[in-house]
């Protein structure tokens, strides 16, 4: 009976932690939370503290360490003293992990959301059609496969003439 009760308590606590994590932003795209981004793999409540498993996005992304620090800081703010972040590589993060809510937020923020992963046979095909996040026109041109952060490519809209960023697929 006692064991059952403690299980219920830890489940509630776990749910609360997931809710708090929804407030931890990505440092480079602050409209997205770490949950929208799909990088939180699990929340484990152990006798010696809370362990959050996080999948890194791009290997060299400088935001990885900042994200880990923000998660720890947020949970400590909420009164959980012992928090650790574990980096997990499997299953690897891809843009497919970004939630639908996350994609909608990206579009509203002016960044075109990713359109499915990059398959091998597409290596040398031309750029894909990406809709402008402002006017929705598909009449856009790839300016560069790379952008201001490791996760973005640069496009311009040929309809409304605005430049925009595209969250590139990997």
């Amino acid at each position: 009976m006692r064991a059952l009760k403690s299980k219920t308590v830890s489940l509630k606590k776990e749910q609360q932690i997931w809710i708090w994590l929804a407030d931890v932003p990505d440092p480079e795209i602050p409209v997205l939370s770490v949950l929208d981004l799909g990088i939180v793999r699990s929340v484990a409540i152990n006798p010696d503290g809370v362990e959050i498993s996080v999948a890194p996005t791009y290997s060299g992304c400088p935001a990885t360490e900042v994200i880990e620090q923000s998660i720890i800081a947020e949970l400590q703010n909420k009164g959980i003293d012992k928090v650790s972040v574990k980096r997990v590589l499997s299953p690897p993060w891809t843009t497919d992990w970004i939630s639908q809510a996350g994609k909608d937020k990206l579009r509203k923020y002016g960044i075109a959301p990713p359109e499915g992963g990059l398959s091998k046979r597409e290596l040398f095909s031309g750029p894909r059609t990406i809709a402008c996040p402002r006017c929705n026109s598909e009449n856009s041109t790839l300016v560069s496969e790379f952008g201001s952060t490791p996760c973005k490519a640069s496009y311009k809209c040929d309809e409304c003439l605005e430049p925009f960023e595209y969250f590139k697929c990997i």
Partner: protein, 252 residues
């Protein structure tokens, strides 16, 4: 060599290739021919550095002597590095850099894809992550190779020369030594004979698109995997290691 030592040696080589190429690309940060290429170059360099960190950290954990990524990067001498000679070649002009990227990444991508099936779980995971990034690099490098090869008379002449001059450094990527053989036998690592066939097929196909003639069979340089480097390498790591050598233990 024990099974564990094989894995450590192999991981260090992977780390060395990624670090050295990342360092080379870092040297040309802020000198891209146009803004978009500037961004591309820095992004590529960052991917290699991130991959090197994953390989080195894991090698350090397996080794269990308290060495970490920074020790491998900053406190080893020239002869201890076992990267391929191709990645340490100077950046040259833009075409040289692109040719080096395509020839190496084509191999590295296939190597990583093969490693996704190796019997060490953590290496397989790092390989899966890195393979996606290298695929993206190839998309970029491949498009430039074709654009330069199939471009003006001058760009064609110069990129052809770049590919042909770097060709001699491709041999050692594709011929195995004792570490490669042990990696295959003990950890289900890449089958280099098969990789060689795939690499040649892919490279021949992109060179054809770029209208660059496939180089003739020729003498191949080797030695990178034994720690025998070309003259360019010492200068490169002297600059890379300067801070740690001058101010030992300095940290952020």
């Amino acid at each position: 060599m024990t099974k564990n030592e094989t894995l450590i040696a192999y991981l260090l080589r992977l780390g060395d290739n990624a670090l050295v190429l990342g360092q080379r690309l870092t040297e040309i940060v802020a000198s891209g021919p146009e803004l978009e290429e500037e961004l591309a170059n820095a992004n590529l360099a960052l991917d290699y550095l991130g991959q090197a960190r994953m390989f080195y950290s894991y090698a350090g954990e397996l080794e269990g002597k308290g060495r970490g990524e920074d020790d491998f990067a900053f406190l080893r001498d020239e002869q201890e590095y076992q990267n391929f000679l191709i990645v340490e070649q100077p950046n040259g002009h833009f075409g040289d850099t692109i040719a080096r990227q395509v020839l190496f990444d084509m191999f590295y991508g296939l190597q990583l894809e093969a490693l996704m099936a190796c019997s060490d779980e953590r290496l397989a995971q790092i390989a899966a992550k890195s393979a996606k990034e290298i695929r993206y690099h190839l998309r970029h490098g491949g498009q430039w190779l074709v654009r330069l090869g199939d471009g003006t008379e001058e760009s064609h002449r110069r990129i052809t020369k770049s590919v042909h001059e770097l060709w001699r450094y491709t041999g050692e990527m594709l011929s195995g030594d004792e570490v490669d053989h042990a990696m295959k036998k003990e950890w289900n690592g890449p089958n280099l004979e098969r990789l060689k066939g795939e690499w040649l097929k892919e490279v021949a196909s992109i060179l054809e698109k770029a209208t660059i003639p496939l180089p003739d069979e020729q003498w191949m340089a080797d030695g990178g995997k034994k720690g025998h480097h070309t003259e360019h390498f010492g200068f490169m790591i002297a600059e890379m290691q300067f801070m740690q050598r001058t101010y030992p233990g300095a940290s952020w």
